[in-house]
């Protein structure tokens, strides 16, 4: 094989692309540690001269950012746990159990897939206002308790499991629930991981719905809080970038540590979603 370059020509494409994708995030991280004076310098600098924490300090003292962070953790935490419990149960029910109304229930759930959140947000807001949960964290997490996507994902997985294992357990006198809890669920770890990751990504990053449902600034999620804060302080870049770090780093770190699982999840969303 003859080669004109000492390395594969694909590097010429991949290296600049990789930089385009990752450098803005690096700059976000570095800028969060700069002083305002440094940021406004000309020409712009990429590396801070020393570690300035004033962006973070001001962010925490002037906004409820830590509170927003806690709120986001609560909303996403509830979303993930509820998804795992409710969607795996429903997925199992639709895959394995025969009962009156199953077909109808499944068709209804299927139909919801086409309906976008934008169509639902006005009536859902009115509904939540009527039951008095607008402006509470509950408003943010109730729509995240279960999803058609999660039910399909789990049902699909359970349909692929051999029934013999469960039959043996049932014959041995295990009830449905115990069979599900102790035989089926432990086998479902890959599907549950996928479901947990996708729910975490979607609920953590959601902006539109919590923006609509919550106007009390102690109940904001991070995305809403930062978006509003940015609307008021368009030029406080070190604070804005500090907030951005807070909003993105947990997921980025999770991605770096569990890259294989994240990629499998993204692939799954694409192929089965």
């Amino acid at each position: 094989m003859r080669r004109r370059l000492p390395f594969s020509p694909w590097h010429l494409l991949l290296m600049p692309l990789a930089m385009i994708f990752v450098l803005p995030l690096v700059q976000m991280l570095l800028t969060s540690f700069m002083s305002s004076a440094e940021i406004n310098q000309f020409p712009p600098k990429l590396i801070p001269s020393s570690l300035h924490l004033e962006g973070y300090r001001h962010l925490f003292s002037e906004t409820h950012a830590l509170r927003w962070f806690a709120n986001t953790v609560i909303v996403s935490g509830i979303a993930v746990v509820a998804h795992l419990v409710l969607c795996s149960m429903a997925g199992y029910g639709f895959a394995r159990l025969k009962f009156a109304g199953r077909g109808l229930a499944f068709v209804l759930i299927l139909a919801t897939v086409m309906i976008p959140i934008q169509l639902l947000m006005i009536p859902t807001y009115l509904m939540f206002a009527r039951i008095g949960i607008v402006d509470t964290l509950a408003a943010a997490f109730v729509p995240w308790l279960a999803s058609a996507f999660g039910i399909f994902l789990m049902r699909q997985f359970f349909l692929g499991l051999p029934v013999e294992l469960e039959e043996a357990a049932l014959i041995d006198g295990c009830g449905r629930w115990r069979t599900f809890r102790s035989i089926v669920l432990p086998l479902a770890k890959p599907a549950l991981t996928t479901l947990a990751i996708i729910t975490l990504l979607w609920s953590w990053n959601d902006l539109l719905w919590p923006l609509v449902a919550i106007s009390d600034d102690t109940r904001f999620t991070l995305q809403v809080g930062l978006a509003n804060f940015q609307g008021m302080r368009r030029t406080e870049w070190s604070q804005l970038m500090a907030g951005n770090v807070l909003a993105t780093m947990p997921l980025i770190l999770a991605f770096l540590f569990a890259q294989k699982k994240f990629i499998a999840t993204m692939t799954f969303t694409g192929i089965k979603g």
Partner: protein, 314 residues
């Protein structure tokens, strides 16, 4: 639904009262079934079918959410198709979609092919390219405001070092929409790349080897063997990305808020403003139904187009 099984023999199960008839058993089975699927079904259906129907009734009224609504029949919809703001928002959204969907497909295929090579640093490249996908659109928008800042942003700095004229980017009425499209691509290409990478790795090796043995060049192999294999995935990606682009809101909210001079107002942004800024709930709901229908039509169009080109995916 193929593998449901009928009543399992209960011979060794807990002693069942001997006289329990088949009806009692069926009832018990239904209760068990609903205990499993009930909670999730109630949440999913209750929070979508019911509100969707209600939204339709709201869309046929003039209502600010406080005083009683006045039924106006189809007037909201009639007004909608003549509303210059709605027409502009639709135009912006369609431009975005028309650039974003082919763009994310082409880039996704290109990067996936590149990442499928066995070369050094490939793990590093993959990490770099996928990482923006997990960053929220809101944070991405705020970051973009910094990178594309006309005074001290990195984008203008790069143009300056290349000797090119400075740009206004998000502050220009003529550029903002395209910059948003670029930012959206930055955030979403990781997703299409992952899918194409998986699809490429699913192509049977023999297929490519056969083409090579037959003397096909690398490009011809790609064009006539690999691309057709990717078609079903492409139909899916196109539908998914069409929906993403048609429903764009977060990025607009954290970059331009629809400005400058409404040049980046998208349909969803307009719906948000109508319903939650100006309290025109009926009109907003009509606009939401309009969006729903346009998105459906576009998605169906993409699927039918994919079908005609010979892929059976849906």
């Amino acid at each position: 639904m193929a593998t449901t099984f009928a009543v399992t023999p209960r011979t060794h199960a807990k002693p069942v009262p001997a006289r329990r008839g088949p009806r009692a058993r069926a009832l018990r089975r239904s209760l068990t079934g609903w205990a499993f699927v009930g909670p999730a079904t109630v949440i999913v259906v209750g929070l979508s079918i019911f509100p969707a129907v209600w939204a339709f009734f709201i869309s046929r009224a003039k209502w600010n959410g406080i005083s009683p609504g006045v039924p106006v029949g189809w007037r909201n919809y009639q007004q909608l198709v003549q509303d210059p703001d709605m027409i502009a928002a639709t135009k912006h959204t369609l431009i975005l979609t028309a650039i974003f969907v082919p763009g994310s497909i082409a880039l996704g295929i290109l990067i996936a092919v590149a990442l499928n090579q066995r070369i050094r640093l490939i793990g590093f490249y993959r990490t770099c390219i996928f990482v923006p996908y997990v960053a929220s659109a809101a944070a991405t928008g705020i970051l973009a405001g910094f990178v594309f800042n006309p005074q001290f942003g990195a984008a203008n700095d790069i143009l300056r070092s290349l000797g090119l004229p400075q740009q206004q980017f998000l502050e220009s009425q003529h550029q903002a929409l395209y910059i948003i499209c670029l930012i959206l691509l930055w955030g979403e290409v990781g997703f299409t790349t992952v899918i194409y990478l998986a699809a490429l790795q699913d192509i049977p090796r023999e297929l490519i080897e056969a083409a090579t043995v037959d003397g096909a060049s690398k490009w011809r192999t790609f064009r006539h063997v690999i691309l057709p294999e990717l078609r079903p995935v492409t139909v899916f990606v196109a539908v998914w990305q069409t929906i993403t682009a048609m429903q764009l809101f977060d990025l607009v909210y954290t970059t331009t808020r629809g400005g400058p001079l409404n040049s980046t107002q998208t349909i969803v942004y307009y719906i948000y403003e109508l319903a939650f800024q100006t309290q025109r709930l009926g009109y907003g709901a009509a606009a939401a139904y309009f969006l729903f229908i346009v998105t459906m039509v576009l998605s169906l169009g993409v699927i039918l187009y994919g079908r005609r080109r010979g892929s059976e995916v849906f």
